[in-house]
Each structure stands twice: as structure tokens, then as C-alpha cells.
């Protein structure tokens, strides 16, 4: 029954000319069948397992475009700050991973499922651990609120899952075979790899979230920072750095993917003091930041 519904959905999603002109219906049915066999949602809801798999697949591709920083102690430091904050979130149990990429682009990215990427270009411009905490807390907040998933789901076309089993990524796994192909195959289920591949080709990493989501993430970031014992103003301070920044801004930078820092600071003004009042011994940790970021 599930398969019949699925095929009906797939057919409904196809343009008429595709249904009746030289179209390989057998292939579509086969693909659909494979997706169901693999447990594909074929709908708009992601299980937590799929969410994590999607985040891993997107992160793996990001790392294919931008190298991982080779500074292992920096990677561990950023993971400690991030994990400590994430432990005070509503999704503490996700496999939180914080990854520094080696690029001058100034930005941080949150993937579904708890994978956060932050650029070395941003890290070297921050001045304290509380600023880093503010930035990481903002990205953690996007994951906690499932903002990326919501954006993916709202932009999901009826044919989102149609390419399952046929996309470039799956082909690469199949054709590549050997160690590399099977390693990629380990990242996530094939239909998730495909979905990630489609999102990436569609410019997922470059697309801004809506303003309401950014504002929600900024506010939750302040809450998370205070819960974790950091200064409530770390994010505001990091935004001030961005507002002061003068230089090149590329399409993948925070200047292209986020509302202006000045607007974000202004939006936070009435909010921050309401949370800052709960802080007991808020820490800036400038010295520890400088020890760890060289």
C-alpha cells in the first residue's frame, strides 16, 4: 500500500510531458521502491537519525570545498566551548561537533543535527571566549530550533526525493567504489547523501535563513551563553566586531548570509538585559582565548 501511495505521489509530482513523453516509468518506480526500502521519509518530516545524517553529509561536502584547520588544539578548544554551551540547550544529547575550517571568509554555519562549522577568518577576529561562545551559541540555537530543517522543508519541492538513487553523490559512491566510495557511503544513508547533494548544488550553504529565524537564534544565544556562565554580551560584542569590519566580504561570508550586524545589535538591545540579570559570575575569558587562538 505504501508503495502504491508513493508511486502516486511521484507521478503527481511529475510534469505531464514527463509522464507521457519518453519517460522511464519503471525507473521512477524502482527509485521510489528503493527509497522506501531504505526507510526514506518521502515526505517532509526528518527523523533525528536522518537529521544527523543530513548534517554529516552536508559537513562532509563542506569539508570537500574548504579544508579542515590543521590546528588540532584549536579544534579541541572550540569543541570544548561549544559542547559546554550545547549541554545547556534543549537538545543536549545530539552528537555536537564543532569544526574549524581554514578560510579567510568570515562566517559560521550550522548544519542540521548538531554540526557547526566556524571559519578561522572569524575566529582570529574575535577577542574573547565569550565572543566565541556568543557565535557558537547562535549556531547551536539554529540547530535547537531546527531552523535549517524548516528552511529545507519549506523549500522542498514535490520532487525533492525524486532523484534518490540517481544523483551525483550516489553515482560517485557507486562508480568510485573502493575505499573512497565506501567511506562516503558510511556517512549517511544513500537517500540522505542524495538529498544533501541536491541541497548543495542548490546553494544551501549560501542561502540566508529568514530574518525571524536569525532574530530567534540571536535571542536564544544570549540565553545559552548566560546559562553556561559566559558574559551575556559576548554575541553583541562579536556583532560589534562585524559592524566595525572593513574589508572584503565574499558571498559565503556573514555579510551576505545574515542581516546586518548593526540591525542585530539594535534588535538585541531590549532583550539582553532581561537575561543578563540572571548571570552570577559572568566570564569573558579573554586570556584563555588568546592562549588557544594564535
Amino acid at each position: 500500500m505504501k508503495r502504491i501511495v508513493l508511486i502516486a505521489v511521484l507521478l503527481a509530482a511529475l510534469p505531464l510531458h514527463a509522464q507521457f513523453g519518453g519517460f522511464d516509468l519503471g525507473k521512477v518506480i524502482d527509485i521510489g521502491k528503493k527509497a522506501v526500502d531504505q526507510g526514506s521519509p518521502m515526505g517532509k518530516e526528518f527523523s533525528q537519525e536522518d537529521e544527523i545524517g543530513l548534517g554529516d553529509a552536508l559537513t562532509a561536502s563542506f569539508l570537500g570545498a574548504s579544508p579542515l584547520s590543521q590546528d588540532a588544539s584549536l579544534q579541541r578548544y572550540v569543541n570544548r566551548v561549544g559542547k559546554w554551551i550545547a549541554m545547556h540547550s534543549e537538545r543536549a544529547d545530539l552528537p555536537w561537533t564543532f569544526t574549524v575550517i581554514d578560510t579567510e571568509t568570515i562566517n559560521a554555519f550550522a548544519m542540521p543535527g548538531g554540526s557547526i562549522i566556524v571559519s578561522s577568518g572569524l575566529i582570529k577576529r574575535l577577542g574573547s571566549e565569550s565572543e566565541l561562545a556568543g557565535v557558537l551559541a547562535h549556531e547551536i540555537a539554529h540547530v535547537v530550533k531546527r531552523h535549517q530543517l524548516a528552511a529545507i522543508q519549506s523549500g522542498m519541492k514535490a520532487d525533492f526525493w525524486k532523484g534518490v538513487g540517481t544523483s551525483v553523490v550516489a553515482d560517485r559512491v557507486k562508480i568510485g567504489g573502493g575505499a573512497v566510495g565506501s567511506a562516503v557511503g558510511q556517512i549517511a544513508k544513500p537517500y540522505i547523501l542524495d538529498a544533501a547533494g541536491n541541497l548543495i548544488k542548490d546553494g544551501f550553504f549560501l542561502r540566508p535563513l529568514d530574518r525571524g529565524m536569525e532574530s530567534e537564534a540571536d535571542q536564544l544565544a544570549i540565553v545559552l551563553a548566560v546559562r553556561s556562565g559566559y558574559d551575556a554580551y559576548g554575541l553583541v560584542s562579536a556583532l560589534q566586531m562585524l559592524a566595525l569590519y572593513k574589508g572584503d566580504a565574499d558571498a559565503a561570508s556573514v555579510f551576505s548570509t545574515h542581516p546586518s550586524a548593526t540591525d542585530r545589535i539594535a534588535d538585541l538591545e531590549p532583550f539582553v538585559p532581561t537575561v543578563a540579570q540572571y548571570a552570577k559570575q559572568p566570564q569573558l575569558l579573554e586570556a584563555r582565548y588568546k592562549q588557544n587562538v594564535r
Binding site: 579544508p67 567511506a183 572593513k246 574589508g247 540591525d263 540572571y278
Partner: protein
């Protein structure tokens, strides 16, 4: 021409770099605000700065920003500053050589969707690379190897005197 001494060279370099340094530090008060001796509401008021006072940012931290206002150094509330692209062009000093740079960085009044900005010579991420990225499973595995577990994060927090505080999320919990 005699060779330049290191000190003279440093001086020339400082002069050359000065405008860049200045552009990165320039701000204006967005309302009348107190310039205080320290970053605290209890600290002594050094001066009251009128709205649109030009200042130079010296340091950031803890809800306060250290500035230099016409030779007087002190701290102002972090929310009481605006940055060049968000002040009226008259008060931002008409001949600002960085106006073309600052405008595309997105000012406070920019409401349009930010345009895609061409990368001009920095070693950043290119949109093409990000769209054509192939998954690197080995790099992902390495990234996972840097994860911190709970006891490590707790120890790290203790070392930094970070103590957890209970704060409700004013937005309400999702779950």
C-alpha cells in the same frame, strides 16, 4: 638614498596603515551617553557625549566598549554606538575613502536582501566550490575525532570558572 632604519620603516608603515586602522575603529554615539571611567553603571562619569559624537573604538567586552572621544578615553554602553554606514552621510565625513567599501557591508538601514558580493582577492570560500563540493569522508571523520565529551567539557568549564545558571528561555521551550 640611505637605507631606512627599522624604526623609520615602522613609522612609515604605521602612517600607511593608519587610515585602515582608523576605518576599523570608527563609530558614533547613537544617542547622548555617558563616557565612564570603567565599564560599569557605578563608574565615575568622565563626560557626557552628545548624539553623533565621533569616537574611536579601543576595546570591546562585557556590555561596554572602550572608546577614545576627542582625546578622552573611557567606556560607553555597547548599545549606544553606531557605525559609519548607519550614520547620516553628513556626519560620517563626506570624503570617506571607504564609503564604497562600507556600503556593501550592509548598513543598519539596508533592508534589501544583500546582493552577492564578488570575492576580491581574499582567500575565501567561492560559491562555485561550495556548490560543487564532493563529500570528504576522511575530513569528516577527523572532525568527529575532535569532539569533546561531557566530562571534558565540564572540566574545561571548571577551569574557566564557568558555572551553569538556570535561565528560562523567554521564547518558551520547544519541547
Amino acid at each position: 638614498m640611505p637605507a631606512m632604519t627599522p624604526r623609520a620603516l615602522a613609522f612609515v608603515l604605521a602612517l600607511l596603515l593608519a587610515p585602515f586602522a582608523w576605518a576599523e575603529e570608527q563609530a558614533f554615539t547613537n544617542r547622548a551617553t555617558d563616557l565612564r571611567e570603567r565599564g560599569s553603571n557605578d563608574a565615575r562619569v568622565i563626560a557626557t557625549l552628545p548624539e553623533k559624537t565621533e569616537v574611536r573604538v579601543l576595546a570591546r567586552g562585557g556590555g561596554w566598549t572602550q572608546v577614545d572621544a576627542a582625546g578622552k578615553s573611557g567606556w560607553v554602553n555597547v548599545f549606544h554606538l553606531r557605525f559609519p554606514t548607519t550614520v547620516d552621510s553628513k556626519s560620517s565625513g563626506g570624503g570617506n575613502p571607504f564609503s564604497s567599501v562600507t556600503s556593501f557591508l550592509g548598513g543598519g538601514r539596508q533592508t534589501e536582501k544583500k546582493a552577492t558580493i564578488a570575492t576580491t582577492g581574499i582567500r575565501g570560500l567561492s560559491p562555485e566550490d561550495l556548490k560543487n563540493a564532493a563529500p570528504d569522508a576522511a575530513a569528516l571523520a577527523k572532525a568527529h575525532s575532535y569532539r569533546a565529551d561531557k566530562p571534558t567539557a565540564e572540566r574545561f568549564a571548571r577551569e574557566g570558572k564557568l558555572s551553569a545558571v538556570s535561565v528560562d528561555n523567554p521564547q518558551g521551550e520547544r519541547r
